[in-house]
Amino acid sequence: MIDRIADIYGARTPHARGTVWPARVDQYLDPGVEETDVESWVQSACLLCSNGCGMDIAVKDGRMVGVRGRATDVVNHGRLGPKGLYGSTRWAHSPDRLTRPLVREGATLVETDWDTAMGRIVTRSRALLEEKGPLSHGFYTSGQLFLEEYYTLAVIGKAGLGTPHMDGNTRLCTATSAAAFKESFGADGQPGSYTDIEHCDAIFLYGHNMPETQSVLWMRILDRTRGDDPPRIVCVDPRRTLVAQEAERTGGVHLAPRVGTNLALMNGLTRELFVNGWVDDDWVAAHTLGVDDLRTTVEEWTPEKVAEVCGVDPDDVRRAARIFGESEGVLSTVLQGFYQSHQATAASVAVHNLHLLRGMIGRPGAGVLQMNGQPTAQNNRECGADGDLPGFRNWDNPEHVRQLAEAWDVDVMTIPHWAPPTHAMQIFSYAEAGTIGLLWISATNPAVSMPESARIRRILRGDQCFVVVQDLFLTETAELADVVLPAAGWGEKTGCYTNVNRTVHLSEKAVDPPGEARSDLDIFLAYADEMGFTNRSGRPLIGWRTPEAAFDAWAAVTAGRPVDYTGLSYDRLRGPSGIPWPVNEEHPDGTDRLYTDGVFPTDTDYCETFGHDLATGGAVTETEHRAMNPAGRALLKGGAYTPPHEEPSEDHPLRYTTGRTVYQFHTRTKTGRSADLDRAAPDAWVELSAHDAAERGIEEGDWVRVASPRGAIEVRARIGDVMDGAVFAPFHYGHWEPDESSGGGHADAGNRLANELTMTVWDPVSKQPTFKTAACQVTRLRAGDGPSPAPTTTASAPATAASAPPQRRPRPTAGGGPTTSTELSSTPDYALDPAQSRGAR
């Protein structure tokens, strides 16, 4: 019996390079439930991070009572992380679930029936269409719906209403991943595979605290770093995370650049490849464009200049570049430290550049994983509910738009393709001005997750825009809505989703939703019915009523595109494992990694975008793209470093950055309702270095005020291993609290929202908001009566150098319910795994 709060990663199953990752089945059942009590195990996949672990849901008496990893799934080989184990099912029978629709009557929300709630939406929608047209409608969705739901909403928005104002909170978590792929390779699509971990001899993690964001993927890496012939780890992070410690242990490098200076560091690493002759000139000549411009761009970035701007040791830059330049197979992973920071797309594209310069892509062990934040973010990008066109189509290519018009049987002019789709921050600006008069928010909580929270609350609360929220609970956002619709959640509905490395899973309905809650798909279909959207033939625009029929409609529009689902069906997905796309006649069993032939989707007629100026976001035209004639070659794009938008000042001398803990997901809507998880990270905190704390007379557990030019929070201080001059705050904590028995009841609940301090500013290309660069000051308020609530098990661990007084000494984080882990004596056969005989290398 293992406490997976204390032991996050469970027992190691170390193995040598080039061998298959062993299987280990992790399982959790609610207290009092024995394995023999479980009436059925229902096939699904985890929805509490972007890793996409295959799991089965345990059902007893019509309730979800636990989960177990699927040993045969290519993603996790049976393992689950603490969020998946403890957090997957508890929320479902929480007493505060929404079970009836709510409508606003003055200052309060009152319960009503579906007809009344939907009636209010449709009345408002029709009036706005008549008065102002489709541009009066905006949709802000999630990274947690199912692909059938995204696709249905995309068709409603793009072909029913005809609004370009559709985006998701995927803009906050993964937009830079998609943008970087498009700029380098011509289209979205993860080039690498998790199986690269088994074959590489170096792993670079850029702004990616994998041990907390994708704990099962980190287990996979640990099983290599603790086995024979381990890879070296290189970590780019301002905190001394577990990744940084593993870098030290494996003879790699920990680079801690000043917050906001990633591109300067990347330019320095790129220059080292050029000056040391670590460039595969023949491959670069055959498969890329732009090498001369890139060489010129990075020329000035000597290790000494990088050191000056980033605050790192110049020899560490040289050592890291040497590891990249001399390894046989490098796997790079990238996440929010790059995506949510300054010059996000340019810095993420620079990771691609390093791989392209060495021809290090498309073979086992040589790959890139631009990660996602949320479990179904990939589907929002694919299906086009986030501002892209379905199937990675190019909104600037008339033929691509025509294909959609034909599939939907609508006039091409209906589909809003005459300008770039509107990104989330712009949608909220239009809602602020009232030119968007109906904003429909599904399965997300922008009142907590978006930057500059005070502004977001004002927009949602104001009379200028009618706000619809559909969710599982009355979130901080739902409280401000005009209509609240109760939604069915994971396990209460059927649908598919796709993880970071393109693996598609089917999640079957295990139990009924509570009360009158409905699936998001049924809610969207009900709206379409009420609005009476029809196609040119006069038939209903949405020709499906079930998830499976929606899936088939989606698969049909992917034909001929990079994201090809045509070989997938619900029946195929009921097999032993999820399957990575493309799946079609050419790849009937799916595809482990893309670009094995060094041919990229950059052809002018095929690509998803003609590209952008990385400094401004200015769009490359079709004529310019055609003249460049990429014809399947990848693009090497460089960018000049510019300082962050807000630099430290006398009043705000520290650099503020936000992030995550392993025990909470997003705004805690689910994880906060699991007592095991919530007790491990029950309340917000702020991390300071020992030096910065001493300068301010702050001790572990003291209450402090953290202020930026936009707002302030009052939380307890952890003296941690963050670099001097930087301040870290977790973004999970809004004012919602679980009851005290589950770890709630905190005095600071109204003053702890990390996004009160962040700026309204975004990357010029990906439009991802910048959460990681703001200036701040920290001042001591009063003594605390114990240690800060920060977990001790991960990057928020107390600093090794700090000595807290006895009553403030942090207690080791522990206390998860019992789980089991069973190592399998024989490893299952995984289709496409290059370490097994069946694998295609």
Binding site: S136, T435, T616
Partner: protein, 153 residues
């Protein structure tokens, strides 16, 4: 070469007008975050072109001739308000940047004839930077236009 020096003076003057106008639009629409930051960035590019031009002005001298004066466009003293105002301001910036670009084109031709490598390099680089300014202005106008023209009050 009195006319080349005239155009060098025009480049200096029109880049200054453009930089000032980018800053006026940035500050006038400061609540539009991308316009604020990008306009300041692009003003800096015009500043950099003028700095690079300074030693060449030393060499050639900056003539103050009447004839091309009517080419001097007035900058934007202040910004307009609202979504339609932003659209018009971006359009004005586009006009100013077009004047800058054609000025660099003309100077590059003169530099070719004179075989002045330094001036040619500068004129070509500056022309490229102006293209990037124009591309952003075009992209941003396309984005702003539908909402501004159809829905804004």
């Amino acid at each position: 070469m009195p006319h080349l020096t005239t155009y060098i003076g025009l480049a200096d003057h029109s880049e200054k007008t453009l930089a000032d106008s980018f800053r006026a639009v940035a500050n006038g629409h400061a609540h539009v975050a991308d316009v604020f930051h990008t306009c300041h960035l692009l003003a800096g590019w015009s500043d950099a072109n003028r700095e690079a031009l300074a030693p060449i002005i030393e060499r050639y001298g900056e003539a103050d001739v009447d004839e091309p004066e009517r080419l001097h466009a007035a900058g934007l003293a202040g910004a307009r308000k609202g979504e339609v105002g932003l659209l018009r301001d971006l359009q004005d910036l586009h006009v100013l940047a077009s004047l800058v670009q054609t000025t660099w084109t003309v100077i590059a031709q003169g530099a070719q004839g004179l075989r002045d490598r330094d001036l040619l390099d500068l004129a070509q680089h500056a022309n490229g930077q102006t293209s990037r300014q124009l591309t952003w202005l075009n992209t941003r106008m396309k984005t702003a236009a539908p909402q501004a023209l159809i829905v804004a009050p």
